[in-house]
Amino acid sequence: MGIFLTLALNGIVNGSLYFLMAAGLTLIFGLMRVVNFAHGGLYQWGAYLATFVFATTDNFVLALAVGMLIAIILGIVMERGLISFVYHNENGQLLVTMGIMLILTELIKVPFGPSELSSNTPTDLSNSWLVGQVVIVQYQLFMIGASIVVFILLLWILHKTRLGMIVRAGVYNPELVEACGIAIGRVFTIVFALGAGLAGLAGALAGPYLGAVTPTMGFDMQLSAFIIVVVGGLGSLTGSFIGSMIIGILTAVVSFYFSSLAVLVNVVVMVIVLLIRPQGLFGERESAT
């Protein structure tokens, strides 16, 4: 029982991290129909810079802010400079974002080297408690809290603000949004920056959780995030949340019992979902023609 609860807790923590990634992917896809294969690169840059800033300044809030900021800046440069040229070219988007992913993953090694960098948990968040047989670490709660706050904030933005209304409208009919006198291009950039910022935040939070940042962390995380958006339904925020928790808990359980086979199980889950509901658990069916 204790093991099960511990695994469930770990799973929810994993899921929280996944959600921050998947939410950005799904938002960007929902509005712009772009699958960002560089999302893991933004996560990685957020992680490295936050780790670096925290190691040098010992200020965790600053570290989180810098992690997010770098991802936002990279995101805006990417969207304005590169992706806007391939908005109506699906394969072009895949190739360009993957190219950016390669650059981001490799470039990080130039200042920080190819080996892993250890990442410390801020002392204020390092407390832990024993509840029953379960060890609860304060930092884990912090991550869960952060992702819940983000989830609620995103729901609020989407459903209660004018920006959210424009985004929801743009998902449905971007041309008509322009006819309302709204510069949809700017909205694209804002949403892309928001999604990038979430990836940066996820990275910044991940460092202390994982104990170290590594050059492959971006690819690994991206893979899980893709599986989640496929399972949850590409374009659905709620789907991303539920999918994150499912995959997070499964990853925790499976890696406890079979160490390295977590990916395999996730792929199997994805395949089953696709066979039963090709559009994902919460995705909307797209017409064939």
């Binding site: 699958v35 294969f37 190739l95 190219g99 496929v230």
Partner: protein, 323 residues
Amino acid sequence: MTRHTRQFGPLLLILVVVALVPVLFGVGGITNLLEQVFAFALFAMSYDLLIGYTGVVSFGHAVFFGTGAYVVGIFLAHSGGSSGGLLVGTCVALGMSILLSLLIASISLRIRTVYFAMITLAVGQTFYVLSGSQMLQPLTNADDGMTVPLPVWLTHDRPVYYFSLAVLVLCLVLLRLFVRSPVGLVLQGIRENEGRVLTLGHSVYRFKSIAFVISGLMATVAGILYVIAQTFVSTGVYDVSISLDVLLMTIIGGIGTLYGGLLGALIIIVAQTEFTNLAGTYPIFGRYTILFGVLYIVIVRFMPRGIVGTILESIKRRSGQEG
């Protein structure tokens, strides 16, 4: 006749030159490099069948390449490098490749193309993890990889070189026949206008599956060539970076040109080798992947037809002006 010489003349010339390499330059470094190029050229062409003729991008094509390399590697290693092991291994690898491609096709070809890219990436990563997992250690030697003994008739450089070249040429002929076949025509139709092909009464799903199976088979053969050239196999053959390198070879050469993969493989393999050598003196060259990333963007943005595609285009335009 003249049309045929114009079409095949240059290719034949290249073939003769390539065949003479061991005679002119001896065996060793250069033949070993070219053997790698042969394997990756076939891999890239198999990939082109997918992107160039059906329009779907996969980020996990290494699944087939790696399966070819691993299965044949395992059979050779466990049979002590017998010809029988090579033969049986090849058959098993091809069979697995067919099953695998049909499985992936059944879950992913009916849905959006972006899903296909994500699913293939995930499946590829699964194999990467599996090949390195301790559970399969007795079979694969896990993370350490395994040395692969070859049959006696393949133990020298020259036979390996000519064997690889022969297999490449054979596959090239088959691929060319395939794209010129009625099925190839249907595939081009799908690339041009999928909905119309469907309305004519072709089962698009069936043809995409066929293309995927053939493409997978060719990639598997490429993996077999690779393991024969390297006499070693490790988890690296399933690495996503292999898929991405080959994707780059394909788009540099030119999507939908088939032969583009030959040129793309040559460029990328030579570049990788040279950069790795340079990195010994100047460590910054070890980061050449950055350049590959830039190439992705540059090609999509400025040269979507790749090198061969752009050349063919200009030839076509010039002959068009003459006529």
